[in-house]
C-alpha cells in the first residue's frame, strides 16, 4: 500500500477561454494518488480528464487550487520550472508523434537526450526499451516502415525509456493486439512496482484489470474514485463476517465503500476494554492482539475482524485490542454498521451465536 502521495490535487478548478467565452472545465477536483499506483481515468470526452492530466504533467499552468506533484507545488512553478517538471513525466499521446526522419531507436533516444547519460548508455537504454515492447527486431526501422501498433509501441518505449516517475498515457493500448497489449500492460505494472505512478485514459479491459484505481469523471468533477482490487478484497473479507453473510454482492460492495482506512503503528491501542463501542474493524494488513483482563486471548490477522460485539449488544468493549505491528485497519462507523445490519434479516441471532461460540 501507499505511503507518500505522488500526486495530490485539492480544489483544482480550471477554465478555458476568457471573458464572455470563459468556460469552466474542472470543478474543484480532489484526488490523491500514491507512488506506484496505476490509475485509470474514465469518463466521456469533455469530462475534463485530459485537462486534469495535462495539469499533472505540467503542460498547463494551475489556475485555481493546489496540485502537488512529486512533492512540488505546481502552482508556484515558473514556465522554466514547468519545463523542468515535465522531464519527470512520460507522455504517451494517442497520436504517436514520431519523427518520420528518425529510426525507432533515435525516436526513443530523443527522450533520453535530456538525461545526463553517455551516448552509449542512451543507445543501450533505447534498445532495451524497444526490446521490452517487442520491437527488438525493428530498432533501425523508420516509422514509415512500421505498422500502427508498432509505432504506438515505439511511442511507449520513448515515454518509458527515461524512467519517468509519472506516466500519463492516452489510450496507449488502443492499436495493440492481444499479445503485445499484455506485454505493454505488464510493462506498466513493472514500472509501477518500481515506484512509477501511472495515469491511463483507456477503455481497454486488460488495462482496467491491471489498475489499482478507477477514477471516473463527469462534467469536470470526479464522480467516483474506486479501487477495484481493494473493493473486491474488502467485499471478500466482509462476506466472511457472519453479520453480513446474507448480503448480496452489490450490498457488500456498497458497505465496503463505507469503510474508512486507518493505519496504526505497532503497539497502538485500537479498542480499550470498558469503553463504549462506536465502530467495527476489519484488518487489511498486519495483526493485532486481543487482551481480556490483561490476559492475551487471541491474535487476529489480515481478513479478520473485531469490535462487532459491542455494537451488536450495545455494551462496553469486552476486550482491549492492541496492534502488534504497523497495521492497516478498515473502519466501519456504528451508523453504517447498523444500516448494513438492517439489510441482513436474521443476523442478530446469528451473530449472537458466533459470539457465544467465541467465548
Amino acid at each position: 500500500m501507499t505511503t507518500t502521495p505522488s500526486v495530490a490535487c485539492s480544489g483544482i478548478s480550471h477554465y478555458f477561454g476568457s471573458g464572455e467565452t470563459r468556460k469552466q472545465i474542472l470543478f474543484s477536483c480532489d484526488v490523491t494518488v500514491g507512488t506506484g499506483e496505476v490509475v485509470v481515468m474514465t469518463g466521456p470526452s469533455g469530462s475534463g480528464k485530459s485537462t486534469l492530466l495535462t495539469l499533472i504533467g505540467g503542460l498547463r499552468s494551475i489556475q485555481e487550487g493546489s496540485l502537488r506533484v512529486l512533492g512540488t507545488e505546481m502552482r508556484d512553478l515558473s514556465p522554466a520550472g514547468l519545463i523542468e517538471a515535465r522531464r519527470q513525466v512520460g507522455f504517451i499521446f494517442q497520436a504517436h508523434n514520431l519523427f518520420d526522419s528518425l529510426s525507432a531507436r533515435e525516436n526513443v533516444q530523443m527522450g533520453l537526450d535530456l538525461k545526463d547519460m553517455t551516448p552509449r548508455q542512451r543507445r543501450e537504454r533505447a534498445d532495451e526499451m524497444l526490446q521490452a515492447v517487442g520491437l527488438g527486431e525493428r530498432i533501425t526501422y523508420r516509422p514509415g516502415a512500421l505498422s500502427g501498433g508498432q509505432r504506438q509501441r515505439v511511442a511507449i518505449a520513448r515515454a518509458l525509456a527515461p524512467r519517468p516517475r509519472i506516466v500519463l498515457a492516452d489510450e496507449p493500448t488502443a492499436a495493440l493486439d492481444g499479445e503485445t497489449g499484455r506485454k505493454v500492460v505488464g510493462l506498466f505494472q513493472q514500472m509501477a512496482a518500481d515506484g512509477c505512478t501511472i495515469f491511463l485514459v483507456t477503455h481497454d479491459k486488460r488495462v482496467l484489470d491491471a489498475s489499482d484505481r478507477i477514477v471516473h469523471m463527469l462534467d469536470g468533477r470526479i464522480a467516483s474514485d474506486v479501487r477495484p482490487r481493494r473493493a473486491l478484497q474488502l467485499a471478500e473479507f466482509l462476506s466472511k463476517v457472519p453479520a453480513f453473510s446474507t448480503l448480496t454482492p452489490a450490498a457488500l460492495s456498497e458497505v465496503s465503500e463505507q469503510l474508512r482506512e486507518q493505519r496504526v503503528g505497532a503497539g497502538a491501542t485500537v479498542v480499550r476494554e470498558g469503553e463504549a463501542g462506536d465502530a467495527f474493524y476489519l484488518i487489511g494488513e498486519g495483526s493485532v492482539a486481543v487482551t481480556i483482563k490483561e490476559r492475551e486471548v487471541a491474535t487476529l490477522a489480515t481478513g479478520q475482524f473485531f469490535g462487532e460485539a459491542a455494537l451488536l449488544k450495545g455494551e462496553p468493549r469486552n476486550a482491549t485490542v492492541t496492534s502488534r505491528e504497523s497495521t492497516l485497519l478498515y473502519v466501519l462507523d456504528k451508523a453504517h454498521f447498523d444500516r448494513a445490519l438492517e439489510r441482513s434479516g436474521d443476523m442478530r441471532k446469528q451473530l449472537l451465536e458466533v459470539l457465544f461460540q467465541r467465548q
Partner: protein, 385 residues
C-alpha cells in the same frame, strides 16, 4: 548542453527523404548560382578594368586631372612628366601612350577589327609583367607588336611571327601576353613608342609624342611614396593628378561602380538571388515543420525548451544553406571557367566573394527559419494530449 552523441534531428529531417533532399538542396543551389553569376559578372567588369594596368610597373602614376577613366583618351603634356623627374625622390619616369580603336586586320581574313594599342619606350622598364618586360628587345625592332592571347577570337589568335596590318602599317607579332577583355575593348596590342608614333601620326615630318596618357614614376629605393605624392602635387600644375600606383588601380577598378548604376543593378541581382534562396528555404522548412507539428509539441511535453525547437529549425535552414552553397560554389567555379574561356572576361571565384555569397545565403536561410519556426514555437503541448 553538448550535442555529442545526441540524435541529429535537424540533419535527419533534411536528409531522410532522398528525393526531397535533392530537390531542396537543388533549389538553394540554383539561388546560389544566381548570386554567384551576378557577383561574377560585376567583378569581371570591374577587374577587367585593371588587368592590363596591373601589369605596369610604377610607384606613382601621373594622369590628366580631367581624366575620369583610363580607356577614354585624355592625355596630358609630356613636360609634366619631365618636371616630375626633377624631384629628388624620383629615380625615373616612363610615359605610356594609348590609342583607342586602331584597326587590325584578321591575319587570315580581310575583316577589320578595332583594338586598343598601348605603347612605351622599350628602353624603359614600364611593365612588371615578364611576358612584356622580356620582349623589350623584340619591340625595339620597327613595326613589331605583342598581342593579347585572351583577346576576342575575331582578331584571329595571332602567334609569334604572324604578320598583318595594324592601322596603316604592316606589323609582325613578336610575342603574346595574357590580359583579356574589358568593357571598352575586346583586345589589346602593345608596341614601342616609335612604332606607335608612325601609326598615329603617319606622314608627319618631324613626329614627336607630346602628349602622354599615363605617366609612370619610379621612386628611388627607400623613398616615401606618400611624401613623394605630396611633393609632386605641390610642384606640378593642376592639370595633372598624382596618385600612388595602388590608389590608381583602386580608382580605375571603382570607376564603373562609382559612375554607372552597374553596381546597383548587380547588387539588386544578388539580392534577388538571396531572396530566392530564402524563399525556397522557407517553402521547404514550412512544409517540414507542418509535418512535424505534433512531434515538436511532444518534444515540448518531454521537457525540451522552446528555444531548443527553434534551434532544430534553424539548424535545418543552415544545413540547406551550407549544402546549397557548396554545390552552388562548385557549379559557379565551372561556370566562371566556361565564361572566361568563351568571353575572355576574367571572372575569379575569390575567397572574399565566396564568403560574401555564403554569408548572404546563410542569412537568407536564417530569416526563412525564423519565419518557418513560428508555428512549432507556438505549438502547445497540451493540445497534443
Amino acid at each position: 548542453m553538448s550535442s555529442r552523441g545526441r540524435v541529429p534531428l535537424a540533419w535527419r529531417n533534411v536528409t531522410y527523404n532522398p528525393r526531397k533532399f535533392l530537390l531542396s538542396v537543388g533549389g538553394v543551389t540554383f539561388a546560389v548560382l544566381l548570386m554567384f553569376t551576378e557577383v561574377g559578372f560585376l567583378n569581371g567588369i570591374l577587374d577587367g578594368q585593371v588587368v592590363l594596368l596591373g601589369k605596369l610597373r610604377a610607384d606613382l602614376v601621373l594622369v590628366s586631372a580631367s581624366k575620369a577613366n583610363m580607356f577614354v583618351a585624355e592625355p596630358f603634356p609630356r613636360e609634366r612628366l619631365w618636371s616630375a623627374a626633377a624631384d629628388p625622390s624620383v629615380e625615373s619616369v616612363s610615359p605610356v601612350y594609348v590609342a583607342m580603336n586602331v584597326p587590325w586586320k584578321h591575319p587570315g581574313r580581310r575583316a577589320l577589327r578595332f583594338l586598343r594599342l598601348v605603347a612605351f619606350d622599350p628602353d624603359d622598364r614600364a611593365f612588371a609583367d615578364p611576358e612584356v618586360d622580356g620582349r623589350r628587345e623584340a619591340l625595339k625592332q620597327r613595326d613589331t607588336v605583342l598581342f593579347d592571347r585572351r583577346a576576342a577570337a575575331y582578331f584571329g589568335r595571332p602567334v609569334d611571327g604572324v604578320e598583318t596590318e595594324l592601322g596603316s602599317r604592316r606589323v609582325r607579332v613578336a610575342g603574346t601576353f595574357d590580359s583579356g577583355v574589358d568593357l571598352p575593348s575586346r583586345g589589346t596590342a602593345i608596341t614601342s613608342d616609335r612604332t606607335f608614333l608612325r601609326l598615329v601620326q603617319p606622314g608627319a615630318v618631324e613626329p614627336e609624342l607630346k602628349r602622354v596618357e599615363i605617366g609612370l614614376v619610379h621612386l628611388r629605393p627607400g623613398a616615401d611614396a606618400g611624401a613623394a605624392v605630396k611633393a609632386l602635387r605641390a610642384a606640378l600644375p593642376g592639370d595633372v593628378t598624382v596618385l600612388t600606383f595602388h590608389d590608381f588601380l583602386a580608382r580605375e577598378r571603382g570607376y564603373f561602380l562609382k559612375n554607372t548604376p552597374i553596381g546597383l543593378m548587380f547588387a539588386l541581382g544578388v539580392l534577388m538571388g538571396a531572396v530566392v534562396a530564402g524563399f525556397i528555404c522557407y517553402q521547404i522548412l514550412y512544409a517540414d515543420v507542418l509535418d512535424n507539428l505534433g512531434q515538436y509539441a511532444t518534444l515540448k511535453a518531454m521537457g525540451y525548451a522552446t528555444w531548443a525547437i527553434g534551434l532544430v529549425v534553424l539548424q535545418q535552414a543552415l544545413y540547406l544553406g551550407l549544402l546549397g552553397f557548396l554545390a552552388g560554389a562548385t557549379g559557379s567555379g565551372l561556370l566562371y571557367r566556361g565564361l572566361s574561356m568563351s568571353t575572355g572576361f576574367r571572372i575569379h571565384l575569390t575567397a572574399g566573394r565566396a564568403g560574401a555569397v555564403l554569408a548572404l545565403t546563410l542569412m537568407a536561410c536564417a530569416v526563412a527559419a525564423l519565419l518557418a519556426a513560428k508555428k512549432p514555437l507556438a505549438a502547445d503541448p497540451a493540445d497534443a494530449f
